[in-house]
């Protein structure tokens, strides 16, 4: 473990949701064992804890952004706050100006222009993050974003930085990061600084569409990428289109996983697919992990 080679950061993303990111990441976490720190950066719909049995050893609140609050005693109902608010976040309810917390973006403009200083900005608790010991004998950093919270990019960055810090302190070889779907803030945050991106896709027109969009983003970061095609046998034609695309873009084609219910069977037992019996998928994921490790040396 450790040695002179610096720690490598591997991010697993997909563009489209539900292609098997978390199942793949969990399998790699099992295969890497004590050599990796695991980070679940899909803070908006985190699932990895279901397979990793975390003990929530450390829990901390995460604050990010602000929320305007109007002190009704000082408010003279002049309405300047509502006039300047671009987010229509200050409606009049029963004759009082009230901030709607779901619409307020915490820009603080209203507080700056209120003539009676009736508005204060409070720090907003947007979620929690955790450091846990997990069943692989290592550590996982994970989080839960509050409902309707903004800034999932910032919580993602927090989780990732904590994981990197732990990896350095404990001299680990890898940080394994489960990313989130889409191409916006959270994904941008999980990609920055990564050494390798694993794109998990499936041979459907929508997954290919989303893969192309998210890879455009990956290219901006100039990160080496590889692709795993899940359920490759449900559509050979689209599968071949994906392979053509990978070739064109110079993306490493890591593996084709057959359509099996083994992922789901494992999930029901709270396990990663590489932990239950022998399946074709498990075998291919073991090979995939070796391929990824090799391409990082």
């Amino acid at each position: 473990m450790g040695g002179l080679e610096p720690m490598k950061e591997i991010v697993i993303i997909s563009g489209k949701g539900g292609t098997g990111k978390t199942s793949v990441t969990s399998s790699f976490a099992i295969l890497a064992g004590e050599n990796a720190i695991v980070a679940d950066c899909d803070v908006d719909a985190a699932d990895m804890h279901i397979l990793m049995q975390p003990d929530f050893e450390k829990t901390e609140d995460f604050y990010s952004g602000e929320l305007a609050v109007i002190n009704q005693d000082d408010c003279t109902q002049c309405g300047v706050c509502a006039d300047v608010c671009r987010f229509n976040a200050i409606p009049v309810i029963n004759g009082q100006y009230i901030v709607n917390p779901l619409s307020c973006e915490g820009c603080g403009y209203c507080a700056r222009v209120c003539p009676t200083n009736a508005i204060t900005n409070i720090d907003l608790k947007v979620g929690k993050w955790f450091i846990s010991n997990i069943k692989t004998g290592t550590t996982m950093v994970h989080a839960k974003l509050g409902i309707g919270a903004d800034n999932s990019g910032k919580l993602v960055t927090k989780v990732k930085n904590e994981a990197k810090q732990l990896a350095k302190e404990q001299n680990k070889d890898y940080v394994l990061i489960d990313g989130s779907p889409g191409v916006g803030c959270p994904v941008v945050s999980s990609l920055s600084g990564a050494h390798f991106v694993v794109l998990v896709t499936e041979p459907t027109v929508s997954a290919l569409h989303d893969l192309k969009r998210v890879y455009k983003l990956v290219k901006k970061f100039n990160i080496k990428a590889g692709c795993i095609i899940n359920k490759w046998d449900i559509n050979e034609k689209t599968g071949n289109e994906i392979k053509e695309y990978l070739k064109e873009e110079g993306i490493l084609h890591i593996a084709d996983l057959p359509y099996e219910e083994s992922f789901t069977k494992a999930m029901i037992q709270g396990k990663a697919v590489v932990e239950i019996g022998e399946s074709k998928v498990a075998e291919l994921l073991k090979e995939s992990w070796e391929t990824i490790k090799q391409s990082l040396t």
Binding site: G18, D47, G148, G184, L217, I234, I268
Partner: protein, 288 residues
């Protein structure tokens, strides 16, 4: 009426339900479907509709006018997003961090930061028969989905009266973009799958809808896969299960090719009919 299709977890079948339901309802009603998953919109792949209108969508950002600026530093001080930074003798604007609150622009004593439009995405309007379909896509590199979602909803509300059934295909998750996409909904359809991940994320989605005080119903997709956890959860909490769509390789194949399901799978059509009846009931309730 406004119907949002949402789910905590990605890939559970939101788009499948949205496109099939919209097409099925359009056989009898005027329907508009809006794809609000602006980061990864793909409803269009399943719809045979014709483009009738396209427009760029902009967000407003400040532009620094050097000649007018006295470097007083107010803009940097009032920006809570660190999108305006004073660096030596110049002001730098970081458009991707800007929330378009206008504070820097309007509080600048010298009018040195007028707001200008920046393209953040494209909206396209397609049509066939009774079905209007609106899609917006975020430019790659733009990080904030919410303003584009909001503008797309505005477009739908300007063009279509309340007599239309408006279906909003939401992004996954429970954060800001989902709130924006579902906050005007009269009814929310939560799509899940009967697996531990599906259940975990369904609970998050339910919490979100309860927080927003939305009436909702649940569609279980890929029924037969996984376990009974989702059904038990719904029964215990008296959440209505609107329909169960079978786990089938044939459906997966049709989907993978970008085809609608219900023309070829009778169980799908029956499921859509159940959802339609439920929607009619909610609609009657609204009109009462």
């Amino acid at each position: 009426m406004n119907i949002a299709i949402a789910s905590g977890k990605g890939g559970t079948g939101k788009t499948t339900i949205s496109t099939n339901l919209a097409s099925y309802l359009a056989e009898s009603d005027n329907v508009v479907l809006a794809d609000l998953d602006v980061e990864e919109p793909n409803s269009k792949l399943f719809l045979d509709t014709e483009l009738i209108h396209k427009e760029d969508k902009f967000k407003m950002i400040p532009e620094w006018i050097e000649d007018k600026c006295t470097l007083c530093g107010i803009c940097q001080k009032v920006c809570n997003y660190h999108a305006v930074i004073q660096l030596g003798p110049s002001i730098l604007v970081f458009p991707e961090l800007c929330h378009s609150c206008y504070a820097c622009s309007e509080l600048c004593p010298d009018n040195a930061l007028p707001m200008i439009p920046l393209k953040m995405g494209e909206l396209a309007h397609y049509k066939k028969g009774n079905l209007d379909f609106i899609e917006s896509r975020l430019e790659i590199g733009q990080e904030l989905a919410v303003p584009l979602i909001a503008q797309t909803i505005d477009y739908v509300n300007e063009k279509f009266s309340d007599k239309y059934i408006k279906i909003y295909d939401s992004p996954p998750g429970t954060s800001c973009p989902v709130i924006e996409a579902t906050k005007d909904a009269d009814f929310v359809i939560l799509v899940t799958e009967p697996t531990p991940f599906g259940l975990n994320d369904l609970k998050l989605a339910v919490e979100t809808m309860q927080e927003l005080k939305k009436e909702f119903g649940i569609v279980i997709n890929r029924n037969g896969l996984g376990n009974a956890g989702v059904e038990i959860y719904c029964e215990e909490n008296n959440f209505p299960i609107l329909a169960k769509i079978p786990n089938s390789k044939e459906i997966a194949r049709l989907y993978s090719n970008g085809n609608l399901i219900y023309h070829q799978i009778p169980e799908m059509k029956a499921s859509l009919e159940k959802i339609k009846q439920h929607i009619y009931k909610v609609w009657e309730g609204l009109n009462r």
